[in-house]
C-alpha cells in the first residue's frame, strides 16, 4: 500500500474536535482513536453530531478547534498526503449527475492519478461486485437511492485506501445489497484495512464491529472495544442508558386512530 505513514499510528485520531453552527454546538470536544486494522462503528441518535464529526475527520468541514490525523498525517496541515490514505462516503452526497457510473469512476480514478488501465479494470470489478454493471449506461441522476449509495461506495474504494470513512453506508440499501457491502467491508478489514462507519442500527454495529464509539449531544460518552463498552449487556441497552433517552410516543396523538 502507498503513502509513508508513522509506524504504529492509529488509523484515525480525533483530538478535541469542536464545531458550532450559529448558536448550536454540533460537536463539543470529540476525542476518538480508531486503531489500525479495526472495524469501528460510530453510533448515536439523530442529530448527535456523527455526520459533522466524520466530515471534520476527513477534511470536508473545517473544525472550530481540534485536530484529525489519518495514520499520523494531519488532515488539515498536510491534506494531500492524508487524502491519499482515505476513502470517503459522505451522507447525502451529490454527484456529477449526468455521468454514467463507469464514466464517474474513470474520471475520479484518473483525478487521483491512477493509470487508465488500472482504473478501468478496477471500475469494472467494483461495478460487477456491487451489481451496478447492468446500469452501465444509465446516468447517475436516474439511479435509485440504493444505487447511489453503492456507486458512492465504489468511489470510496476505487483508489484502494487504507482507511474507509463511511457515513450511514447501509441506509436505504436493500438487504441483499447490504449483505454484499458487509462482505466487501469484512474482506477489506481482513486484508489489513480500517473502517469507520456511522449508523444508528445497534444490531448491525454489534454484528460487524470490533470497536464502537457512542456519540450523543456532540460528545463521546463511551468508546473502545465492543466487549468493553457493553460490559456483558446488550449494546442497545448501554446505548439508551448513555444517551439518557427514554422511549417516547406514549403521549398525545389521541386523534390518530379515531
Amino acid at each position: 500500500m502507498k503513502g509513508t505513514v508513522a509506524e504504529g499510528a492509529p488509523a484515525l485520531r480525533l483530538v478535541g474536535l469542536r464545531k458550532r453552527f450559529g448558536g448550536h454546538t454540533a460537536v463539543d470536544g470529540v476525542d476518538l482513536v480508531v486503531p489500525s486494522g479495526s472495524f469501528y462503528g460510530l453510533v448515536g441518535p439523530n442529530g448527535a453530531g456523527k455526520t459533522t464529526a466524520l466530515s471534520m475527520a476527513v477534511g470536508l468541514l473545517r473544525p472550530d478547534a481540534g485536530s484529525s490525523a489519518v495514520f499520523g498525517v494531519d488532515v488539515w496541515s498536510d491534506p494531500v498526503r492524508a487524502k491519499a490514505l482515505v476513502g470517503v462516503l459522505p451522507d447525502g452526497m451529490m454527484l456529477p449527475e449526468r455521468l454514467t457510473g463507469p464514466e464517474l469512476l474513470h474520471y475520479l480514478g484518473r483525478l487521483r492519478g491512477l493509470p487508465s488501465a488500472t482504473v478501468d479494470a478496477r471500475a469494472e470489478e467494483l461495478l460487477a461486485v456491487l451489481e451496478l454493471d447492468e446500469a452501465g449506461r444509465t446516468p447517475v441522476i436516474d439511479y435509485s437511492t440504493g444505487m447511489r449509495k453503492k456507486i458512492g461506495l465504489a468511489t470510496a474504494l476505487l483508489h484502494a485506501p487504507r482507511l474507509l470513512v463511511l457515513d450511514e453506508p447501509f441506509e436505504a440499501v436493500d438487504p441483499v445489497s447490504a449483505a454484499t457491502i458487509r462482505v466487501i467491508l469484512r474482506r477489506f478489514v481482513a486484508a489489513g484495512g480500517s473502517v469507520v462507519f456511522s449508523s444508528h442500527v445497534m444490531a448491525l454495529v454489534e454484528q460487524l464491529c470490533d470497536h464502537v464509539g457512542v456519540i450523543a449531544g456532540g460528545r463521546v460518552p463511551a468508546a473502545g472495544p465492543v466487549e468493553e463498552v457493553r460490559a456483558g449487556r446488550g449494546l442497545e441497552e448501554v446505548f439508551v442508558e448513555l444517551v439518557g433517552g427514554r422511549t417516547g410516543g406514549e403521549e398525545g396523538l389521541s386523534w390518530l386512530a379515531s
Binding site: L60, P79, V86, V88, M94, P96, E97, R98, L108, R137
Partner: protein, 662 residues
C-alpha cells in the same frame, strides 16, 4: 400493547377532533386563503440578503416603468382615438412582457406545484388557490399601477368611462396574471421536448437581444406605426385581447354600451378560458407527478463518443476536461446556457438591422462570449454538493480549475469565432476586424478566468434534480445571487477588453495601421493573462476555503454558515441590531447597484458612444435629448455617478465583511 391506539381510547369523540390543529369553521378550508398566507410567510422569511436586494431592485425598476405607463393617461392626445391606439399598444407590450417574463425569471419559486401533489384537493380548487396567491407580491402591484393608465385615461374622458375603467383595469390584471401562469406551465411542459426546449432558449435569446440593442430597431417600429401601416396596426392592437380594456373605456365615452359590454365580457370569458387551460395542464402534471419528468436515457452513440473523448484526454487534467465536456453536452442547464448565449449574440447583432444599423452585427460573436461568461458565472454552483469529490482527491483543486477553464474555452471559443466569421462574411465590415480580433480573445480569456473565480467567490448552488420544471432553476436566493454575479462578470469582461480596444482606438485615431493591428496581440496577451491569473485566484480560493464552499454548496446560499463564536446575551442583542442594519444596508445596496448599472452602461457609456457615432438615434438616452455641447459632459457625469454608486456598494460590502470578521 399499550401503544396501540383504539377508537375507544379517544376521549370525547363528539367534540372537536383537531384540538391543536388549524381551526375549521365548518366545511373544507379555502385553498386561496391558505396558499396566500403561505406565500406571505415565505416572502416575509426571504426578505434578507441578495433575495431582498434583487426583489427591491426589480421592484423599483418595475414601479418606475409602471408609473410611467400610468402617466401616459394624462397625455393630451390630439384625438381620443389616437390615445386609445397608443394605450392599446402599450398594454400589448405589457401583456407580452407578462407572458414571456417567467421564461427569464423562472416563475414563482415560493409555491411550487410539487409541494401540493399529495394534497387531496381538486386541481381546479388548487389552481384557484395558486391564482389567488399570485396576486400577492411586487409584480402584480407593478401591473396594477401600470394598468391604472386605464383609470387615468377614463377619468379624463368623463364619469362613465371612468366607471368602466375600474373593472377594465382589474380584468386586464387578471388577464396577465392568468396568462403568466399558463405560459409558464406551457413552457414547462414544452421544455420537456427537445424542440420546445430549443425554442424556449431561442425566445430568451430574442428577449435578451431586444433588451440589448432592440432600441436601434425601434425606429423601424415607429416608422411602421406612423407610416401607411398605422391604421392596420391601430386596428390590430385594438382587436387583440390586450386592447379590449381600453376599447371598452372608449366605447363608454361614446355610450356604445354593446361594445363596452362585449369587450369586458370577452375579457372575462377569455380569462376563464385561459384559467381552464391552465387547470387542465396543472392536473396533467399533478397526475404525472415529478418522478418521470427528468428521465435521461443514455443517448445512442454516447459510448462511441466517450471512447473517442477518452483517447484525447488521458491524463488527470484530461479526465476532468472530459467530464466537463460531457456535462456541457448532456446537462440540459448548461446546454441551455450555451443556446441562450448563441441566440443573444445573434439577435443583439441582427435586431438593429431592422433600423438599417449594421454596426453592431460584427460584434455578435463577442456578445456570445460575453453571455457565455455571464451565464457561466455559477459554474461550480451547477455541480453543487458534488464538489466533495474534488475535495477528497489529493491535490485535485489545481487540475479541476484549469480543466474547467479549458472546457469553457473549448466550448465557447470556437462558437464565438465561427459566429464572428459568419456575420462578417454575410455583411462585410472591413473596419471591424482589428476591433474584433483585439476584443474577442480578451473577452474569452476573461470569461475563462472569471467563470470559475466568481462561482467560487460567491457560490450559488443550483443542484441538478431529476424531474421538475427546468425553468424553476434560478428562482430562489441562489438565482438572485447568480443573476447579480452574471451582471458582474458581463461588466468585468467588457472592462477586460478595454486595453486591447484602447490600442485599436489609438491606431484608428492616429491612422496607424500597424498600431491598429497591434490590438490583436494586446488582446491575446491580456486574454492569456486574465485566464491564467484569475484561474490561479480561483484555485487559491478552492484550496483555502474548500470546506466552507462545500458547506454552502450543500446547504444553499441562505443556510451556509460561517463559524460563529459563542455569544453572551448582550453580544447577541448587538448582533441582532447589526443584522437589522445589514438588512437595510442590503436594500440600499440593491438600489445602488441598479442605479449604478443604469448610469454607467446605457446612460453613460452607450450614450457617450452614441453621441459621437449616431447622435440622431436618441432612443432612451437622456443625454442625447440635450443640446450637442451638453451631451458628452452629461453622459460622462452619468458614468461618474454610476461609478460612485458602485463604489459605495463595494464599501458597504467591505464594511459588512469587516463586521462579520469581528
Amino acid at each position: 400493547m399499550a401503544g396501540v391506539l383504539k377508537p375507544s381510547d379517544v376521549p370525547n369523540p363528539g367534540g372537536p377532533r383537531h384540538p391543536g390543529g388549524p381551526r375549521h369553521s365548518g366545511g373544507p378550508l379555502n385553498p386561496a386563503v391558505v396558499l396566500t398566507g403561505m406565500k406571505l410567510a415565505v416572502l416575509r422569511r426571504s426578505m434578507s440578503g441578495p433575495r431582498a436586494a434583487s426583489l427591491i431592485a426589480g421592484g423599483v425598476g418595475g414601479v418606475l416603468t409602471a408609473v410611467g405607463t400610468a402617466l401616459l393617461g394624462l397625455v393630451d392626445f390630439p384625438a381620443p382615438e389616437s390615445g386609445v391606439g397608443t394605450i392599446a399598444l402599450v398594454l400589448l407590450v405589457w401583456t407580452v412582457g407578462w407572458a414571456l417574463g417567467p421564461t427569464l425569471t423562472g416563475g414563482d419559486p415560493t409555491l411550487r406545484l410539487s409541494y401540493f401533489t399529495l394534497v387531496p384537493q381538486r386541481p381546479r380548487r388548487l389552481a384557484l388557490g395558486l391564482l389567488a396567491a399570485s396576486f400577492v407580491g411586487i409584480t402584480p402591484l407593478v401591473g396594477l399601477i401600470a394598468f391604472s393608465v386605464l383609470i387615468v385615461f377614463g377619468a379624463g374622458l368623463g364619469l362613465l368611462p371612468a366607471l368602466v375603467s375600474v373593472p377594465a383595469t382589474l380584468l386586464q390584471l387578471l388577464l396577465v396574471v392568468v396568462l403568466a401562469k399558463l405560459s409558464l406551465q406551457c413552457l414547462g411542459s414544452v421544455a420537456r421536448t427537445r424542440l420546445g426546449w430549443e425554442l424556449s432558449a431561442l425566445l430568451v435569446g430574442l428577449v435578451c437581444g431586444f433588451l440589448n440593442t432592440g432600441w436601434f430597431g425601434l425606429a423601424f417600429f415607429f416608422e411602421l406605426l406612423g407610416g401607411h401601416w398605422a391604421p392596420v396596426i391601430g386596428t390590430v392592437v385594438r382587436a387583440l385581447p390586450s386592447g379590449w380594456s381600453v376599447v371598452a373605456v372608449d366605447a363608454a365615452r361614446r355610450s356604445d354600451w354593446a361594445l363596452a359590454g362585449a369587450c369586458l365580457g370577452g375579457l372575462l370569458a377569455l380569462c376563464a378560458l385561459l384559467f381552464a387551460a391552465w387547470t387542465a395542464l396543472l392536473s396533467r402534471q399533478l397526475a404525472r407527478g415529478t418522478a418521470d419528468g427528468g428521465r435521461t436515457a443514455a443517448r445512442r452513440g454516447a459510448a462511441r463518443r466517450s471512447a473517442r473523448l477518452r483517447a484525447v484526454t488521458d491524463s488527470p487534467a484530461g479526465a476532468v476536461l472530459g467530464k466537463e465536456l460531457r456535462l456541457w453536452a448532456r446537462d440540459p442547464r448548461r446546454a441551455r446556457f450555451l443556446r441562450i448565449a448563441l441566440w443573444s449574440g445573434l439577435f443583439t447583432g441582427l435586431l438593429p438591422m431592422l433600423g438599417g444599423f449594421s454596426t453592431v452585427l460584427p460584434w455578435s460573436g463577442v456578445v456570445l462570449a460575453l453571455y457565455a461568461g455571464a451565464l457561466g458565472s455559477s459554474l461550480y454552483g451547477l455541480d453543487a454538493g458534488a464538489l466533495w469529490l474534488t475535495l477528497v482527491a489529493p491535490g485535485a483543486e489545481r487540475i479541476d480549475v484549469r480543466a474547467r477553464q479549458w472546457a469553457w474555452l473549448l466550448v465557447v471559443g470556437p462558437a464565438a469565432l465561427l459566429l464572428t466569421v459568419a456575420v462578417t462574411l454575410a455583411v462585410p465590415n472591413g473596419w471591424a476586424w482589428p476591433w474584433l480580433l483585439a476584443t474577442l480573445p480578451a473577452v474569452l480569456g476573461a470569461g475563462a478566468g472569471l467563470t470559475p473565480l466568481t462561482s467560487l467567490l460567491g457560490p450559488a448552488p443550483f443542484p441538478d434534480l431529476p424531474g421538475g420544471n427546468p425553468l424553476d432553476g434560478f428562482s430562489d436566493e441562489s438565482g438572485d445571487q447568480a443573476r447579480m454575479q452574471s451582471l458582474a462578470v458581463l461588466l468585468l469582461q467588457l472592462a477586460a477588453a478595454l486595453p486591447a480596444a484602447g490600442v485599436v482606438l489609438a491606431g484608428t485615431l492616429l491612422h496607424n495601421a500597424p498600431l491598429r493591428w497591434a490590438g490583436t496581440a494586446v488582446g491575446l496577451g491580456t486574454g492569456l493573462l486574465y485566464a491564467g491569473w484569475l484561474g490561479r485566484a480561483a484555485r487559491h480560493r478552492l484550496e483555502t476555503r474548500g470546506p466552507e464552499l462545500l458547506d454552502v454548496m450543500r446547504k444553499g446560499v441562505r443556510r451556509g454558515t460561517e463559524p460563529a463564536p459563542a455569544r453572551s446575551p448582550e453580544e447577541q442583542e448587538q448582533q441582532d441590531l447589526l443584522d437589522g442594519l445589514s438588512r437595510r444596508r442590503t436594500a440600499l445596496a440593491g438600489l445602488l447597484v441598479t442605479v449604478g448599472m443604469l448610469s454607467v452602461a446605457p446612460q453613460g457609456g452607450v450614450a457617450l458612444a452614441m453621441s459621437l457615432l449616431a447622435p440622431a438615434n436618441r432612443s432612451w438616452f437622456l443625454a442625447l435629448y440635450l443640446p450637442p455641447e451638453w451631451q458628452v459632459p452629461v453622459a460622462a457625469g452619468f458614468v461618474l455617478l454610476g461609478t460612485v454608486c458602485l463604489f459605495v456598494v463595494y464599501r458597504l460590502i467591505r464594511a459588512k465583511h469587516a463586521t462579520a470578521r469581528e
